[in-house]
Amino acid sequence: MSTASLQEAPGRSVVNAGRPGKRRSNRVGSRLAGLPWILPAVLLVVGLIYFPIGFTGYASTLDWNGFILSTPKEVGTANYAKMLGDDVFWQALWHTAYFYVITFSVQTVIGFAIAAVMHSKIRFGAVYKAIVFIPTVLAPATMAPVFRQIFDQYGQFNWLLSHIGLDSLTRPWLADPGTAMPVVMFITVWQWTGLTFILYYAAMAQVDTEVLEAARVDGASSLRVLRSIVWPMCRGTTAALAVLGLIGALKTFDIPYLVTKGGPNHGTEFLGTYIYQTMVQQKHFGYAAAIAIALLVLAVAGGSIMSVRNRRAGRDQ
């Protein structure tokens, strides 16, 4: 991962000052003058991220229940072999993949559309903006019980359906794997579209209004302007959101854990929930560590590949 790779993600760069390397000549002090300044950050990250990763790597070769006093048994790569033959592991991966594709696409479409509408002459724009953004600042853990209630057999969603004549559709949404996953995705979209919206909203503010006016004078419709001018100009934002969404999908834990506990029948199992369950409930620390290492590899590889691709696309523009 390099500096440029993630430059466009939210909050990443307030002042775009060009490449860091260019200013080397007028930096101050002796050869290691910067070391004491960066050391606290490096120690914190090495001590609390790198060391634990190393430990997880070691633990992944053990058969161990996690108690310090119990003697772990060395099993080599047995945990990894077990993982590759574990249906639940593959299910969790598959869930992560389609969860990512669907939530990212839906958030992009809705977030972009709301941003476009909010940039038009709308009353109560400030109120609407706040409503869309509020879910982003709320804890998933706070809202999870609310959604459990809404999608319960006797919840508001079924009440709504039966009042608009869709009685036949009412069901216990969280009890069936086929509907529990869409609910988990719905909650995610509800929660994170505010961020997508705010980023597109900010990006659209940078679009030159003269270009838009010129296109309109030439007879382009609003939709056409959005598709052919605004959307391409927001490409950087879309790319940054794609990376963020991928990392977010791999990190998914709070919502499926709190809403469905990864069930029913592993129907909403993600790598995070599976690791937690394996470790805390089944006390298979070694196996949990092996899955954690797989998750780490996916997150680092996925993040790097997408950033590199984005950077290339950025250069070609």
Binding site: M1, V14, A41, I68, A139, A289
Partner: protein, 262 residues
């Protein structure tokens, strides 16, 4: 973006906007409605009567304050070091931090759990604060460094000619210029530490150590399936968050959107 001239199209657009926004509001209304079922306002009294509301808010405040403090201090020092001072192997050091950007929390659970129980950090707020800070730092250093890169080095050189030490330059010249990035760092860290669930759930079992995100689940275990209590607890924890957001709206949105402004 949409060019509206006629009255009809303006109204149409307003209706479209309203329809798009309402689904975001419904779950919040459902939370309030659900929390008033059964005992009505009494559900809120029930939550407060447990006596842990003040405890969880205090603990969350402590955790957020310390996490923000650590992240801010460590980030500012590192960003200054990376952007303004000579450093052998700079990009290697930087890469060491950046590589940790995408590490999921779940990867750290096994070792953190074992280490915390070995060193008896279990049920200590520090066992949550330190990992939260460590996970935040790679990102904040990344954004702070590019901000510091934009501060002209000539400012520092002028001060050095006047005989100021590096420490003094950092403190009196650079830091006062970093207010925009400070707001971003504080808001991001606040959201991430206040909303953290997995680490507190794992590390803080003692009731006197729990945090706001654990308040709703308290009612699931305590009174089996007391939905109204759970929802009242959810509303109680959501309200302060919404109020803080509304009060600092500009900083929240700017903080999260900063990267998109090119």
């Amino acid at each position: 973006m949409f060019d509206v001239h006629s009255r009809a199209s303006r109204i149409g657009l307003q209706i479209l906007a309203t329809l798009m926004v309402l689904p975001f509001l419904f779950p919040l209304l459902a939370a309030i409605q659900g929390s008033l079922g059964g005992l009505g306002i009494g559900n809120y009294a029930k939550v407060f009567n447990t006596g842990i509301v003040a405890t969880v808010f205090t603990n969350s405040l402590i955790i957020s304050a310390f996490t923000i403090g650590i992240v801010y201090a460590v980030t500012m020092l590192a960003a200054f070091g990376f952007a303004k001072l000579r450093l052998f192997g700079r990009e290697v050091w930087f890469w060491v931090l950046l590589a940790a950007l995408t590490v999921p929390e779940a990867v750290l659970l096994t070792p953190l759990f074992v280490v915390a129980s070995t060193f008896d950090l279990y049920n200590e707020l520090a066992a949550v604060i330190l990992p939260l800070a460590a996970m935040q730092v790679p990102f904040t250093v990344l954004i702070a460094r590019s901000f510091f890169d934009g501060i002209p080095t000539e400012l520092m050189e002028a001060a050095k000619v006047d005989g100021a030490s590096i420490l003094r330059v950092f403190w009196s010249i650079i830091l006062p210029l970093t207010r925009p990035i400070t707001a971003t760092i504080v808001v991001l860290t606040l959201i991430n530490s206040w909303n953290a669930y997995l680490l507190p759930m794992l590390m803080l079992n003692d009731q006197s150590k729990q945090v706001v995100t654990l308040l709703p689940s308290f009612f699931v275990s305590q009174y089996t399936n007391d939905q109204t209590g759970v929802l009242a607890a959810a509303v109680i924890t959501a309200i302060p968050e919404i109020l803080v957001y509304l009060a600092l709206q500009k900083y929240f949105e700017r903080g999260l959107a900063a990267g998109a402004l090119k």
